[in-house]
Amino acid sequence: MYEVVAREEMADGEIVSNEILAPQIAKKAKPGQFVIMIANERGERVPLTMAKVDKEKGTITVIYMVVGKSTRLFSSIKVGEGFRDVVGPLGSPTHIEKKDGTVICIGGGTALAVLHPITKAYFEAGNRVITIVGARTAKHLILEDEMRAVSTEFHICTDDGSKGYHGFGTDVMEQVIAKEKIAEVVAIGPVPMMKYTSSLTKKHGIPTVVSLNPIMIDGTGMCGGCRVTIDGKTKFACVDGPEFDGHQVDFDGLIRRLQAYNLEERCSDNEYCKLND
């Protein structure tokens, strides 16, 4: 068992953070890598990118939105209880270096949990980092202080204008691009947001990194379920990624494949909700 040592709820419980004791994984984990977690004997294998790693305490932190049966199960695990399985670190780490120019880190929703360690690493590598974070409403904005602390410049956007700029992060990004030389954009969030961001940066010729979250099983390259099309070629996100060149990703294909089990998942979640009502 992998014990949950701390648990936090955000956005009225819609988003949950679990700090889990996993010293072996914590020792090895690098920004951009993920773990696969299983709640219990009957659970499915769920990939989640690590939001924080505490090498001294030997813990890793994952943050997830409670959207389906598995995340509902995850969120029901109390401090002192644990996950049946946690395996990792998986995937290739982010390639961090000092860039010749500014780095924009843009993201939204729970993906900020993924973006945070990468932003931090870029910042600590001595880059000028402009961070643009987005959320549906102020309530849904997570890791605000943490993100601000690792950014040279920090922007907040909300869809409803309840905090910061009223509108999309990409609007703010366009303004930033107009003002200074951007060496790289790191965009992590919902697939349509990454798609749109990549199409904008492509016009400006700015290299762009995105982090993809296809359906996975083993996370070691064994099943091919996580395959994505990059520059016309099949790649396995769990080993070749999860980060890819945003200008080469077939986002429409990814969106489609993510919906493969929509029906089944809804059915499973309904059953679970009925049982636990």
Partner: protein
């Protein structure tokens, strides 16, 4: 055929008259709807009758045909004698996993093909595989494990990477020599392909669990959720963890794709993914378990090996209305065991030979609706003498399907080998190992099974495991 006396008292002449004892099987109509094992196993009497068909050759070809050299005439005669304890020991002397091998080994191209009894026209060879299954199942039902007295601890530690048949064999052999063995497995459950690939209806999972328990009884520790190359590196195992030797048996876990248009449509799977969902994750029990699977009403399987048959028969059991195997060569060229093809046909699977898939077709929402195939014919033989399929003009066949499973083989997974220095690979990415000892080019590291052979068989993986264990043990003695 019944005799008045016990089988062991039959004369040679009477023995010759015994017909082949057929393996009792669950009827196709019943087994189509469940995942229970198809083969039911011999009774003691059936086993003794079948074993008595063996004419006890002086220079038995079957032993030479067995990749691990089981003393087949001896274990068969011990069954005839009713000395089952000795019989299972004879088998265990050469194979750690007889219950598995009896079920999944291609005996028809190994021991049985050379059986002298079968050389006579119209006479079947002795069903050696069925008898191996019998004796192993008897041992399991009697609670007997292959756990001899272990010599005192040597103080040496070995790490085994991967818990498939290669890893299981190495671990057992070395533990029996008094070494401390730890298995590191990437998945959350141990067993390798035996667990996640080969379906329950061909190899019940409690057999695999029994064998793993026997390993634990020997003092072998099995650690799951350990991806070597990610969670821990091989060099760390040797240096920080202090292992004296490492055996790499990580299998050939990288599915090949066809690289044809439409392969990313929803409904197109690798056999590895489909079988892993069904076997390891038990998705057939969804929503009682959380992993879903697309059941498929009309299913196309691309490829015709064992894996393809397993996928097809899994689809049948998940309720498909029609299951179609599509293969670019002929039936005779299919790499699958004949028994698997036979079982698949009994369960209503259709075969389309000389058809090569060229495109997956999807609907507007990206769901698979069919696969278009090029019609082929056999052309000139290649260097290996096998006739190569060539296209027949632009003749096509369209096969309706909402689920397609690609079962055209696997390659070496580079996850571990990419990050391990000093481990030389061949041009297909398989680890280079001495064929006799399994020793790799890296100090203190051995390898065996599919990662060195390419996708092979359970028995070859075990055989290599055994050789590697012997070599590791010899090496440890010199230290």
């Amino acid at each position: 055929m019944e005799f008045e006396k016990e089988v062991k008292y039959l004369t040679k002449k009477e023995r010759r008259k015994i017909p082949l004892q057929h393996m009792p099987e669950m009827a196709p109509e019943i087994r189509k709807d469940c995942f229970d094992e198809v083969t039911l196993g011999y009774s003691l009497h059936e086993a003794q009758m079948e074993a008595a068909r063996c004419i006890q050759c002086k220079d038995p070809a079957c032993v030479a045909g067995c990749p691990v050299g089981i003393n087949i005439p001896k274990f068969l005669e011990e069954i005839v004698e009713g000395d089952l304890d000795s019989s299972i020991d004879t088998v265990w002397d050469k194979t750690a996993l007889p219950a598995v091998c009896g079920r999944v080994c291609p005996q028809e191209i190994q021991c049985e093909i050379v059986c002298v009894v079968g050389k006579k026209k119209g006479v079947e060879p002795v069903a050696i595989g069925n008898l191996e299954m019998f004796i192993a199942d008897w041992a399991r039902a009697s609670g007997i494990k292959n756990n001899p007295a272990i010599p005192p601890s040597t103080g040496k530690k070995i790490a085994v990477v991967g818990s498939g048949p290669a890893g299981i064999t190495v671990a057992g052999d070395l533990a029996k020599k008094g070494h401390k063995v730890t298995i590191y497995e990437a998945l959350h459950r141990a067993g390798g392909v035996l667990l996640y690939g080969i379906p329950e209806f061909r190899l019940a999972k409690d057999i695999v669990d029994y064998e793993l328990d026997a390993l634990r009884d020997l003092g072998v520790e099995i650690k799951c959720n350990q991806v070597i190359g990610r969670t821990i590196d091989i060099d760390e195992l040797l240096e920080e963890y202090g292992y004296d030797a490492v055996f790499v048996g990580v299998g050939a876990g990288l599915p090949n794709f066809l690289n044809i248009p439409g392969e990313d449509l929803n409904g197109v799977f690798s056999a590895n993914e489909y079988l892993t969902r069904a076997n390891l994750m038990k998705a057939f029990d969804f929503p009682n378990v959380d992993t879903p699977i697309i059941a498929g009403r009309k299913v196309a399987i691309l490829g015709a090996g064992n894996v393809a048959m397993d996928a097809a028969r899994t689809a049948v059991r998940l309720g498909a209305k029609s299951v179609n195997i599509v293969y670019r060569r002929t039936r005779a060229q299919s790499p699958s065991r004949h028994i698997e093809i036979h079982h698949a046909e009994e369960e209503g699977v259709n075969f389309h030979f000389l058809r090569s898939p060229i495109e997956f077709i999807g609907d507007a929402s990206g769901r698979l609706v069919g696969v278009s195939c090029q019609v082929m014919e056999l052309g000139e033989p290649d260097e290996g003498g096998r006739q190569r399929p060539i296209p027949v003009g632009d003749e096509h066949q369209y096969i309706d399907c909402d689920l397609a499973i690609i079962a055209i083989g696997t390659s070496a997974n580079p996850l571990l080998t990419n990050v391990t220095e000093g481990l030389e690979l061949n041009r297909w990415g398989n680890i280079q190992a001495d064929p006799k000892t399994g020793k790799t080019t890296k100090d203190k590291v051995w390898a065996g099974g599919d990662i060195t052979l390419g996708q092979a068989t359970v028995i070859l993986a075990m055989g290599m495991g055994r050789d590697a264990a012997t070599s590791i043990d010899e090496y440890l003695k010199t230290k």
